[in-house]
């Protein structure tokens, strides 16, 4: 197959980067805010995908790690005066440890039982956050309000007036790119192959010398770290955390995101994030009375038309086009 010109993937990435950088300057503040949330969800979905898509461990409780990251950021910023950019790595570290610790006993559980255990975590989190003894730290049911960070003085001084929404967008964009690059490196190398092997044939993987226990717990930890970082960024963007923001529905929504976006795919995280951010708003405009019914219908349509997710469907489409190009022409008649 001859490669004509530059690698198409590279061109797409350059185009995406250009669009991403131009967006806050052409769109309204509200749209910029919405796209910041898309990136936040994309990081969370990549995390969940590492665990569920690549490693086959179902988690119905990732909203809990998102909440942990968000509250980490909120408590550090509000009660301890830590600057917003420092809260992100701390939230990631806390969730990494929490995820790993949760992953260890979860090793004994498979499939549906693991799903139930993670569901328990997801359902307990809002109640734990409302626990009276922790009220002083978590703010109880009223939650914590965070002040929005302003762009550092460097930008207006250099002649680029960035308002808070735009700055937050670029901050989130930078972290998203970093997390995606880390994820891509992780998944295309030895670790990625080990995770996939554990998902498909755990016994064969063990026989090949993969330390199942370590990789599975580590997958939980890394996945939780990604979701925790997403939670921290989400808290800073929304400027508010409350226990009711992180109910079980969030966990389910994240799962919907990775399935619609495409399991075991990095770009799937982005498509899934676009879906869970914009489709509920779309559904609300279509029907004020039953927006979630519309959401459900759209979900079913997506799953029916694209069973392997948006990323899977695109992959099939490209593969079909590539095959058509390289297939030899079918002879019109056979010469006997």
């Amino acid at each position: 197959m001859k490669k004509t010109g530059t690698d198409p993937i590279f061109l797409i990435l350059v185009l995406l980067a250009a669009l991403a950088i131009a967006l806050p300057f052409v769109a309204s503040n509200y749209r910029t805010f919405q796209f910041t949330l898309v990136m936040v969800y994309a990081i969370a979905l990549l995390g969940l995908n590492i665990l569920t898509g690549y490693n086959g461990q179902i988690s119905l409780g990732h909203g809990a790690f998102y909440a942990m990251g968000a509250y980490c950021a909120a408590i550090l910023m509000d009660k301890l005066g830590v600057p917003y950019w420092a809260t992100v790595p701390v939230a990631g570290a806390v969730c990494l440890v929490a995820g790993f610790l949760f992953g260890l006993p979860a090793l004994r559980l498979e499939g549906l039982y693991l799903a139930l255990a993670t569901f328990a975590l997801g359902v307990a989190m809002p109640q734990l956050l409302k626990y009276k003894a922790l009220d002083g730290w978590t703010g109880g049911v009223q939650g914590i309000v965070i002040l929005k960070p302003e762009a550092p003085a460097f930008f207006p001084n250099a002649g680029i007036p960035l308002n808070a929404d735009q700055w937050l967008y670029f901050f989130t964009l930078a972290i998203t790119v970093v997390m995606f690059v880390i994820g891509w490196n992780l998944l295309r190398g030895r670790v990625g192959r080990a995770l996939i092997a554990i998902r498909d044939h755990p016994i064969a993987a063990e026989a090949m010398g993969v330390n199942n226990a370590l990789y599975k717990s580590a997958a939980f930890g890394v996945s939780a770290m990604y979701t925790g970082i997403a939670g921290a960024l989400g808290a800073i963007a929304v400027q508010f955390v409350a226990p009711d923001s992180f109910n079980i529905f969030l966990s389910i929504l994240l799962l919907v995101g990775i399935v619609i976006g495409g399991l075991a795919s990095i770009s799937g995280a982005l498509y899934g994030a676009l879906f869970i951010q914009f489709v509920p708003n779309l559904a609300d405009e279509v029907s004020k009375a039953a927006p979630w019914a519309i959401f459900g219908i759209l979900m079913i349509v997506f799953v029916y038309l694209m069973p392997t997710g948006v990323a899977g469907a695109l992959r099939l489409l490209l593969a079909r086009r590539a095959r058509k190009r390289t297939m030899p022409p079918i002879p019109q008649e056979e010469i006997p």
Binding site: K132, L147, V238, A242
Partner: protein, 400 residues
């Protein structure tokens, strides 16, 4: 040359006319956009009647020609009494729908979540539908203003009544575990002063997410209390009243003002189970026979019949919605053609003895640059099984 001066002169003369009309986002020559969130669903959905009444009021205003020639576009969203949802909806109202100001957003936790944002953005958070004391803070939060008499004052008035009528009382309190509930409890304790510790034998809280408060009532009865301070939103207040009666506990019950609606609280609880309830009121109740011939209430009934015909008239939230509608109507009338956010707050903070006629006699709206509490007077009333009966005098907490 003459033509040039003529043109210049006409422009100069026209300029003041244009300079008088000042608009911030949400206002124009034809429209004033007002934003609102109300719990139309969820554990506090009884309050949704307020949002619907305000919408009906603005329909009437528009049909009668609008305010200074402009129609009111009242945009209201459901927040389910959930602070994160309120944050999202208010943000949408301010940034996407570009409303001039946000009006009567309901709920103490819901408004707390937006308090800093609205003041940082300099968008009026006007006449919030909550009586928490913190809204009267002109110095630090000049863009937020309440409307109804504040909870702490109400609690103090109940305390004074208890001290006067039952000085040896044993008080049990049920309160919602958030700023609204805690505000009332603080008021009561402040009113009791040094005696608070000795008189309050039980303080039990509940969360909005709980399905019932039955176990809390049983706990309160077991504490031996003979006075019950019921600080609950409509659904939970009704459950508390009913459970207390059903288990044979008959304390002297003080019900907080936010749940005095006969239609949405006392009727579901059971009218015969609500006999003897004491509360503080500031508006005329639709069930009170003494207002049967009152022209203000008659006008209200005509308004309800025409613009909101399938409403339950015994629900006091419909009177509340009408009263706040009239108040903001006055603010907008006063603002005239200067529809900037700053002027809206200025007009809201300069109401002198403005009388809303569905409020109790002698209660007027008074605000100033330092007094962001429009209503500060209440009168006690008791439920007799059919209607609320006022007693005593109007008690005012007006400082200036």
């Amino acid at each position: 040359m003459i033509r040039f001066t003529a043109v210049l002169l006409s422009v100069a003369l026209a300029a003041p006319v244009y300079a008088q009309k000042k608009y911030d986002p949400g206002a124009s020559d034809t429209e004033i956009r007002i934003g609102n969130t109300n719990p139309y669903s969820g554990p506090a959905s009884a309050y949704g009647a307020i949002g619907k009444t305000i919408a009906a009021y603005f329909r009437m205003v528009n049909e009668q020609g609008g305010i200074n020639g402009r129609k009111v576009n009242f945009i209201t969203y459901d927040d389910g009494y959930s602070p994160p949802k309120t944050v999202e909806m208010v943000r949408k109202l301010v940034e996407q729908d570009q409303v001039l100001f946000v009006f009567q957003t309901l709920g103490t936790p819901s408004n707390t979540a937006n308090h800093k944002y609205m003041n940082a953005r300099k968008v009026p958070q006007l006449h919030v539908a909550t009586g928490a004391t913190k809204w009267n803070d002109a110095k630090n939060h000049p863009w937020t203003m309440g409307w109804q008499p504040n909870y702490q004052t109400e609690g103090q008035i109940y305390a004074r009544h208890i001290l006067a009528t039952k000085p040896d009382a044993k008080i049990g309190i049920l309160f919602q575990n958030d700023d609204y509930g805690k505000d009332y409890v603080k008021g009561l304790k402040d009113g009791l002063g040094a005696k608070a510790k000795g008189m309050i034998v039980a303080e039990v809280s509940y969360e909005v997410s709980e399905p019932t408060v039955d176990s809390q009532i049983v706990q309160l009865q077991a504490s031996g209390a003979n006075v019950f301070f019921n600080v609950a939103t409509p659904k939970f207040a009704a459950q508390a009243i009913r459970k207390a009666y059903d288990i044979g506990w008959k304390p002297v019950q003080y019900l907080n003002n936010v749940s005095i609606s006969v239609g949405s609280v006392l009727t579901p609880a059971g009218l015969e189970k609500s006999v003897g309830l004491i509360t503080a009121a500031y508006q005329k109740d639709a069930t009170d026979a003494r207002w049967a011939d009152d022209p203000a209430m008659k006008a209200w009934q005509a308004f309800m019949k025409k613009y909101y015909p399938d409403a339950n008239l015994s629900d006091s939230f419909h009177v509340y919605g009408y009263a706040v509608g009239q108040t903001v109507h006055q603010v907008l009338k006063q603002a005239g053609d200067d529809l900037t956010r700053e002027n809206i707050m200025r007009q809201a903070a300069s109401m002198k003895n403005y009388r809303v006629d569905v409020l109790l006699p002698k209660i007027v709206v008074n605000t100033s640059k330092s007094d962001y509490a429009p209503l500060e007077a209440v009168q006690l009333q008791r439920f007799n099984g059919k209607q609320w009966e006022l007693f005593g005098e109007v008690i005012s907490a007006e400082q200036n």
